[in-house]
């Protein structure tokens, strides 16, 4: 255990750091959950799109010489590039496979994780890449005697904004309403004369846009390299499962549980901190095997 006492300030600090991690996890897993809920596709390549988002962010920001403007431009452009890639993927291939069984779709998207990994290697090479946050987001400020990174604060602001955007999209727009209806009963939506195929394409692109956005936001804090797809996809799937399959608010709850148990575990029992979020997953599934919120499946 931790030697010496844990101060309240340290605990609060850890909660905030955990919540900033939650932001990234939420953005990525909500996209995964959206696709899973509406299209019924367990998109394993979601992590690859997140990785591509980070690489494109690096390239765009570098093009503008890693300035503040370059970073903002990258935050806007990179998710759009990922969305474009996913549109090609959906219209070109995925839309022909919707009536196949889940295992086929799983294998299909898995094949794309390998293809994307090699494409990334061909385009960007195997060197490590690092992107600097703009000057106004670098460094940290003092929070009760402990440093709190400015970038983490930025993430804490971005998280609720994305959540708000998602809420507006699913509840206030026509496409959101159709998507929710299609998630419950696909044939019925088809029967009343709505082109489900186009709705599916839109939802898939939005889901993948979120993966790209997650990758773009995480880029300045990470080593942009091959392999970042594996770590995120496992965590994102766990979050989606404990939150309730296909439920984006479940993804928010799951991400918060994952991020917070991780950060607090590190403070209380640093030697075995790795197991904390996974223990939380096990406990949630023991109590609620179908996830915390209503699963759409």
């Amino acid at each position: 255990m931790h030697s010496g006492g844990i101060t309240f300030a340290a605990l609060m600090q850890q909660v905030l750091v955990g919540l900033s991690r939650t932001t990234i996890l939420f953005i990525v897993s909500s996209g995964l959950s959206l696709v899973l809920g509406v299209l019924r596709i367990p998109n394993v390549a979601h992590g690859s799109l997140y990785m591509i988002g980070a690489f494109v962010t690096f390239s765009v920001a570098n093009f503008y010489g890693q300035t503040g403007f370059g970073f903002i431009a990258a935050l806007v452009l990179a998710p759009l590039v990922v969305a474009a890639v996913s549109l090609v993927l959906e219209r070109g291939l995925l839309c022909r496979l919707y009536d196949r069984e889940h295992l086929m779709l799983l294998l299909f998207t898995f094949a794309f994780t390998l293809i994307f990994a090699d494409l990334v290697k061909m385009i960007w090479g195997s060197d490590y890449r690092s992107l600097n946050a703009p000057a106004w987001l670098q460094g940290s400020f003092d929070l009760a005697g402990l440093p709190f990174p400015r970038y983490s604060l930025f993430l804490l602001i971005m998280g609720p904004l994305v959540a708000l955007g998602l809420w507006l999209l699913t509840n206030k727009t026509r496409i959101g309403k159709i998507a929710r209806a299609a998630a419950v009963d696909r044939e019925m939506v088809d029967a009343i004369g709505i082109d489900v195929s186009r709705v599916f394409a839109a939802v898939f692109v939005i889901g993948c846009y979120l993966a790209g956005l997650g990758g773009a936001l995480v880029a300045p804090t990470q080593n942009i390299t091959q392999g970042m797809d594996h770590t995120i996809i496992i965590e994102a799937f766990l979050i989606v499962i404990i939150g309730g399959l296909g439920n984006i608010w479940g993804a928010l709850l799951g991400a918060a549980i994952f991020g917070l148990t991780d950060a607090i575990g590190i403070l209380v029992w640093p030697q075995f901190a790795i197991v904390f979020p996974y223990m939380a997953v096990v406990i949630v599934l023991l109590i609620r095997p179908r996830g915390l919120l209503k699963a759409i499946w």
Binding site: H2, S3, G4, I6, T7, A9, A10, Q13, Q14, V17, G18, S20, R21, I24, A117, K121, S126, D127, Y128, R129, S130, N132, Q138, G139, S140, L146, P147, F148, P149, R150, Y151, S152, V218, P220, T221, Q222, N223, T225, Q226, G227, M228, H230, T231, I232, D262, A263, I266, L267, P270, Q271, F272, A273, I274
Partner: protein, 404 residues
């Protein structure tokens, strides 16, 4: 008639040319390299292969070794033991390679080492950091031309013992490399300076995406210094989080590969200053003409600066060529005999292969990260050279480990 004549001419010329062409292809020494060329580890392994090729080309251009041309074939292990081991078998049984070389994965290096012992093929380990390779699991056919966790740990302990820190924290990758290097630093440090205490430890998974919660938790425990036992791709994000939280300004920390080019170059001028690290090689140190010439050759061929892997690749080529020349014949037993206690010249000075454990005696350079004008990334400064013989376990200690 004309066609018949043409055909006859063709057949004749084939008959004449065949015996001439054959001997050229015959006399070669084949080196089989199994290493991870995909995913994050390729950042390190590409330099080994490229520097090896550069040196081999030079040796071949100078007439080869004992009239033999040196050739090499590579196989990608994808960082997996089973894939790497079957590739090694293919190279040994089907390609009949004379020498095996590789890998960055310690578990795979030990597996290939075992295979090479059975098949009596000399094996040169070029990057794997497990001390077991030439320690407890060492044998006649395996050679290491890279530092290992025991050597780096001892070197770090020697350096850290000279500093005034007493209360330590250990944090690192929760797998073989992390624990091995942390144990090596800590056990040696405790021996050199018994009054040090350990406040606590944090262990994270390999590929940890966010180090901020680990750093803030360590800071709240207020240690004098931290031993960071992380390697490979986790170094970059750790240094980023260290910079973002001002960790390096609050608590000094040691991280073995912190000063490596592969780690510092991507971070540019935004890497944290004052981080202590150890390495076998820098392209800017030692400032000898031999090193400068090597850097120039490497840059001309590959348009980039050589990182630490390059010195291992170059040493491998020089040891192989040198040992065959010294042996006077291309036979595994003679090669092993010749390798033992052999010394080769290199950009980091003379390097000797220790006879008792087949571990190359490499110098270790300990430095701290610093911004220096003329570079658009941080480099190691205040470099202290720790000689190989000062950090290597004694031959009696190796014998004891192997007996167990």
């Amino acid at each position: 008639m004309k066609r018949l004549f043409g055909l006859a001419c063709f057949c004749l010329s084939v008959l004449v040319l065949l015996p001439v062409a054959a001997p050229v292809a015959a006399k070669t020494i084949t080196v089989g390299i199994v290493d991870c060329y995909s995913g994050p580890p390729s950042t390190y392994t590409n330099d080994v292969r490229d520097a090896f090729k550069l040196e081999i080309d030079r040796i071949n251009a100078g007439g080869g070794v004992l009239g033999h041309k040196i050739e090499f074939v590579t196989r990608d292990s994808k960082f997996k033991v089973d894939i790497g081991l079957s590739a090694a078998k293919e190279l040994i049984y089907r390609k009949n390679v004379d020498i095996m070389m590789g890998t960055i994965n310690s578990a795979l290096a030990l597996a290939i080492s075992d295979l090479c012992r059975k098949e009596k093929v000399p094996f040169l380990v070029t990057f794997a950091k497990s001390a077991k390779i030439t320690g407890a699991k060492g044998h006649d056919y395996v050679f290491s031309i890279t530092e290992n966790t025991a050597l780096a740990g001892k070197a770090a302990a020697v350096g850290l013992a000279k500093k005034p820190y007493l209360k330590y924290w250990i944090a690192g990758d929760d797998y073989e490399y992390g624990h091995a290097i942390a144990d090596a630093v800590w056990n040696n440090l405790r021996k050199l300076k018994p009054q040090v205490t350990l406040l606590g430890q944090s262990w994270w998974k390999v590929g940890e995406p966010d180090f901020t919660p680990y750093i803030t938790a360590i800071l709240s425990a207020k240690p004098d210094a931290v031993i960071v036992a992380t390697g490979g791709r986790d170094c970059v994000p750790f240094l980023k989080a260290a910079k973002a939280t001002g960790f390096n300004k609050r608590v000094p920390f040691y991280m073995h590969t912190a000063t490596e080019l592969s780690t510092l170059k991507p971070l540019g001028l935004n890497a944290p200053e004052g981080v202590i690290g150890t390495s076998n090689y820098f392209f800017y140190y030692p400032e000898s003409p031999e090193n400068q010439a090597f850097v120039k050759r490497f840059e001309a061929a590959y348009k980039r600066k050589p990182a630490v892997g390059a010195i291992y690749g170059l040493l491998a080529a020089r040891f192989i060529a040198g040992a065959y020349r010294k042996a006077g014949k291309v036979k595994p037993q003679a090669f092993i005999k010749a390798m033992e206690a052999m010394t080769v010249d290199s950009p980091i000075g003379k390097v000797t292969m220790r006879a008792c454990d087949h571990q190359a005696m490499l110098p270790m350079f300990m430095g701290t990260t610093k911004k220096v004008s003329g570079y658009n990334f941080l480099i190691a400064d205040d470099i202290v050279t720790i000689a190989g013989k000062d950090v290597m376990p004694g031959c009696d200690e190796i014998a004891r480990q192997r007996k167990k």
